[in-house]
Amino acid sequence: MAPGDEADRAQLAIQTDEQAMATPWWFAPGFGLSLGALVALVRDPYWLLIPAAGGFIAFVVIALQVVTRRRGVLHRLEAMPRPLLFWSWFGSLVPIGSAALAMLVALATGQNLVLAVLVVVVATGGFAIGDHRYRVVARRLRAEAGMTG
């Protein structure tokens, strides 16, 4: 095998390693619940949204730090193979997009609690699907490259 190819395999190995993509079980529901809480607060008094947004950002930052320490790896989006990048974005944008849309609808309709429950389900499910598909694609890439384990 050429040295350059071996280097490419070393890169793919770390990008698709099981430990390096392990996500704790609580991350998806925690992410969904924190987004749902934001949507639930789209009502008078609106100033409550400011500390709630701060709490959401703090949750995401701390949770990502915990996940990164457990994995031992912080992935680099620019270097990620396209199929992995797609599912990585899917797992982030579906929850955040659904919450943003729900907040706009809540402003117009006042149905913040119903929409909050919907966002918890969609955000948790969206992240879980993205995470699951990421692993499936990563295993497929490893198999195609002839890597075992």
């Binding site: 040295p3 280097a7 490419d8 070393a10 990008q15 031992g72 790896v73 912080l74 680099r76």
Partner: protein, 93 residues
């Protein structure tokens, strides 16, 4: 034609740079286990790469839970890309 980089060329350092250029940062323990290196060996190789300015070494946390993390620098990424290109030139691929 780009030149073979003598700092990156040894196989262990080449594997370390390949891994680091694929990600943002990696912990000492993860790299040691995945590369099947001893602590002293990884420290030695990392020191050589850090002295060349190719990787950055940071400590996170305190006490027994403290972790050492490695990240490729911009110079390191450029040097790694040039080295791989030089290797491909040499073998004609």
């Amino acid at each position: 034609m780009t030149q073979i980089d003598p700092i990156i060329h040894p196989p262990k350092r080449l594997r370390i740079m390949a891994a680091l250029c694929a990600i943002e940062q990696v912990s000492f323990a993860y790299l040691r286990d995945r590369m099947d290196l001893r602590d002293a060996d990884l420290s030695k190789q990392a020191k050589a790469l850090a002295e060349a300015g190719y990787i950055a070494v940071t400590k996170q946390g305190r006490g027994p839970g403290a972790q050492t993390w490695f990240a490729a620098t911009d110079d390191g990424r450029q040097a790694y890309a040039a080295h791989i290109e030089a290797l491909r030139d040499v073998i004609g691929t």
